[in-house]
């Protein structure tokens, strides 16, 4: 028996045979967890948000159109979940936690940052978390989820060409933040 594709499984779930969701969970929960970990910088928040995505898949299963593509649909849900999370966070938490995330880096201005070290990775992570949410999303999709441009375009609802320029702008922004946080100059 051949393995069913994600699209076929989700079409079944959408039609009421929800058991297929278990297999989709097996295939995708790690990727989603990685997506949210990079976006939020917190593994436990990532677990909550991943859980929420599967919950919404079940709840809104009928919005998946048969013949549709599962992965972009899943990431659209994930982006909505992230959006809701960010909105809630601005009321609930930011003060203490973000101060911790953004504490000043140990500056070592003499070095050229094309050579990355462990401390730089931590700084890079902090710089990343300071990017606007939309830039973080496009970068995570491109860099960590390794989605092809046309799929990213479908997730973000734009043209593939636009994705390329957004990725570039986000990288540029990230590099600026990194330089500022680490006190280094770009090579």
């Amino acid at each position: 028996m051949t393995e069913r594709t994600d699209d076929e499984l989700m079409a079944e779930v959408s039609g009421g045979l929800v058991d297929g969701l278990t297999q989709l969970f097996e295939r995708h929960h790690r990727a989603l967890h990685r997506f949210f970990s990079h976006l939020t910088g917190s593994a436990s928040t990532a677990e909550d948000l991943t859980q929420e995505v599967f919950f919404r898949m079940l709840k809104f299963r009928e919005t998946f159109q048969s013949g549709g593509k599962f992965t972009p649909w899943m990431y659209q849900i994930a982006r909505n979940v992230h959006f809701d999370h960010c909105r809630k966070r601005t009321i609930e938490m930011p003060v203490a936690e973000e101060r911790k995330l953004w504490e000043p880096a140990d500056p070592s201005p003499q070095q050229d940052w094309t050579m990355m070290r462990a401390a730089d990775v931590a700084t890079l992570r902090r710089a990343f978390l300071r990017l606007p949410a939309a830039q973080r999303e496009v970068l995570v999709l491109a860099r960590y989820q390794e989605l092809p441009y046309d799929e990213i375009a479908r997730v973000m609802g734009c043209e593939p060409g636009t994705v390329k320029s957004r990725v570039f702008r986000a990288m540029k922004e990230l590099s600026g933040l990194f330089v500022r946080l680490s006190g280094r100059r770009a090579s």
């Binding site: 929800v18 969701l21 278990t22 969970f25 929960h29 790690r30 967890h33 990685r34 970990s37 990079h38 593994a43 436990s44 990532a46 677990e47 909550d48 948000l49 991943t50 859980q51 929420e52 599967f54 919950f55 079940l58 709840k59 809630k88 009321i91 609930e92 940052w113 094309t114 990355m116 730089d120 990775v121 890079l124 992570r125 990343f128 970068l139 491109a142 860099r143 960590y144 390794e146 092809p148 441009y149 060409g161 390329k164 320029s165 990725v167 570039f168 990288m171 540029k172 990230l174 590099s175 990194f178 770009a186 090579s187």
Partner: protein
């Protein structure tokens, strides 16, 4: 090739790599354009470095949560009540608790079923046992170390047809003392499910003065307004005097106080 096209091409290279002719076009531009060349070197290094940002693997909690959710969905018994609750999701942990409620319910029911076949107990006795069981499960969950368990306890309290006094005071305690904001929110939600007794009312009014979470403060203010609870006026004024209120809370609070006047 102009600079804009070169930037787009760099971005393309990061993700897909470039074929021979596209690569040569880009390199020709870089050779002639120092600013793009510098940008390309720096950003390539950054792209590379992003590889080193570690990610943690998801814990067992995630799978357990998913399984609870599926279980809750499948169990026709509690489906209607779960669906009603799920229609207004507050936040993930909370839903997990809702879902797990059904699981606990199933376990208890299973236990009782075994008990019945062994002891030939009557239906009436079963009813009593079920009630005691729910009571015990709720109270013991509310005392657990993990916030997830306490949330489950709060959810479970709602499956009891008539919530008893002991459970109500455990919920009031959770609202006032629980260190986890999700548990406090859930406890508040559970308390407001039934018309408030005088002691519950008092617990909620007290909470207005000392809860520090803006979400909870807003929920409490709304409760006072919706219940036209004039007795909440003093606590609301007290809250108003706190210097470090979240702006959203202050706005809501002013509206509330105005609505009482």
């Amino acid at each position: 090739m102009n600079c804009d096209a070169a930037k787009e091409r760099m971005s393309e290279r990061w993700l897909h790599g470039l074929d021979e002719s596209r690569r040569i076009e880009l390199e020709t531009h870089l050779a002639a354009c120092p600013s793009c060349r510098e940008e390309s070197t720096a950003l390539n290094a950054l792209w590379q470095a992003m590889e080193d940002v570690p990610t943690e693997e998801p814990g067992r909690q995630l799978r357990a949560g998913f399984e609870w959710m599926m279980q809750a969905y499948r169990m026709g018994v509690a489906e209607s009540s779960v669906r009603k609750r799920i229609a207004a999701p507050r936040q993930p942990l909370w839903q997990l608790a809702v879902a797990s409620l059904t699981l606990v319910f199933g376990l208890v029911a299973g236990h009782l079923y075994t008990a019945r076949t062994q002891d030939q107990a009557t239906i009436a006795q079963l009813g009593v046992e079920m009630k005691t069981m729910k009571h015990l499960v709720t109270l013991s969950l509310l005392r657990q170390e993990s916030a997830g368990d306490r949330l489950r306890g709060v959810s479970f309290s709602e499956s009891m047809s008539a919530t008893d006094d002991e459970v109500l005071s455990a919920l009031v305690r959770a609202l006032s003392n629980d260190p986890n904001v999700n548990v406090r929110l859930a406890a508040f939600d559970a308390l407001t499910r039934n018309p408030a007794s005088p002691s519950v009312r008092k617990g909620i009014r007290d909470a207005i003065t000392y809860q520090e979470s803006p979400l909870l403060q807003i929920a409490l203010i709304d409760w006072a307004v919706n219940n036209k609870d004039r007795g909440a006026m003093d606590p609301l004024r007290q809250l108003e005097r706190q210097p470090e209120l979240h702006p959203a809370v202050r706005v809501r609070l002013r509206e509330a106080i105005r609505s009482f006047q």
